[in-house]
Amino acid sequence: MNNLQEIWQSQSCPSPVSQAMLKLVTAHQKNLRRTILSRDILEWSVSLLLAYNCLRGSYSHPSHQTTFLLCGCLSLFPMSYLSWRTWRIPEKPPMGDLPLVDSFRLSLNWLKEQVALLRAVGWWYILPLGLVAYLLGPFYFQQPTVLAVQRVGCLFLFWFVHRINQKAALELEEHRQQLQVVVEEMSRTE
């Protein structure tokens, strides 16, 4: 082992990390933050706009006020629920002040949360928005053919949303399992 140690210590120092790489890293992180922020703003705006339209609808259709108000609440539900879950278990950057095993445990918790969220997308995202589309459809599309097209379109869209979320959940699950193995391995006392 001493021989290995000698060879190891004799390693010449590699060339320093280039400025270009550092710039790339910092720029990428800024872009990522910007993308996440703009996505959240967009999704909240759509939800609020939908809720506002429902509120307006409740005034213009007094006999269906309950339906419109219910749809307003339903359209706000997915983003509110998502924000609550994200606030409860936020994604944390690597915590250098925690030992590796504790950082992995935190990371594992976050991954479990993400997998659960993606798997349950049917009830917290698709169901409320599907109900909004189903209940409000007849008010906006009077012709049966157009209404049918709207419903088929919505079905297709929600099927697509469900599919991409399940695909993402599968990928994350694979990563979660690998991390679980690492945590179990590290937690085992010998």
Partner: protein, 160 residues
């Protein structure tokens, strides 16, 4: 230039050797990408750095945290691929036995790789325990086994 950027630059210069060794021990074809990912995670971690632990311990933890989770397929912070040539450049030619050691390290279990690397970097059991969160006695037992396994593999590599 922001404070964070300055610190990242400082760390990347000071711990360049360490980061490159970890990247090489945990990856072959996408070493540059792993190095980039480690820098990215270091950059992300900087706002949390309050000096409660040693700077080197922080960098070690973040580097190993990233390397142990490294999975090309599942990367969520995919960045632009880099030229591997950027990393290999050194002033003097490399001892061929060094590549054998790296190959042998890469064959170890991920935890063992971490322990062996820290040991080769001449860290004490106590320091390794602080970085990883394993107990000192656990580090001792595991490291002994990991070193035996490494030596066997290096011998196997030499025979080939």
């Amino acid at each position: 230039m922001t404070q964070s950027h300055k610190l990242l630059e400082e760390w990347s210069n000071r711990y360049n050797g360490l980061l490159q060794k970890v990247a090489r021990a945990f990856s072959t074809s996408d070493r540059a990408d792993l190095l980039q990912e480690m820098l990215l995670q270091l950059w992300r971690s900087i706002p949390q750095f309050k000096g409660h632990c040693k700077e080197s311990t922080w960098v070690y933890r973040v580097a190993f945290y990233t390397a142990l989770q490294w999975n090309r397929k599942n990367r969520c912070h995919r960045t632009e691929p880099l030229d591997e040539g950027q990393l290999a450049a050194t002033d003097s030619p490399e001892d061929p036995r060094l590549e054998q050691i790296y190959r042998a390290i890469r064959q170890l279990k991920t935890i063992d790789r971490t322990l062996v690397l820290l040991s080769l970097e001449q860290h004490s059991y106590q320091e390794i325990s602080e970085i990883t969160g394993l107990t000192v006695s656990n580090v001792g037992v595991r490291l002994k086994r990991a070193k035996d396994s490494l030596l066997e593999r290096v011998k196997g590599e030499s025979r080939e």
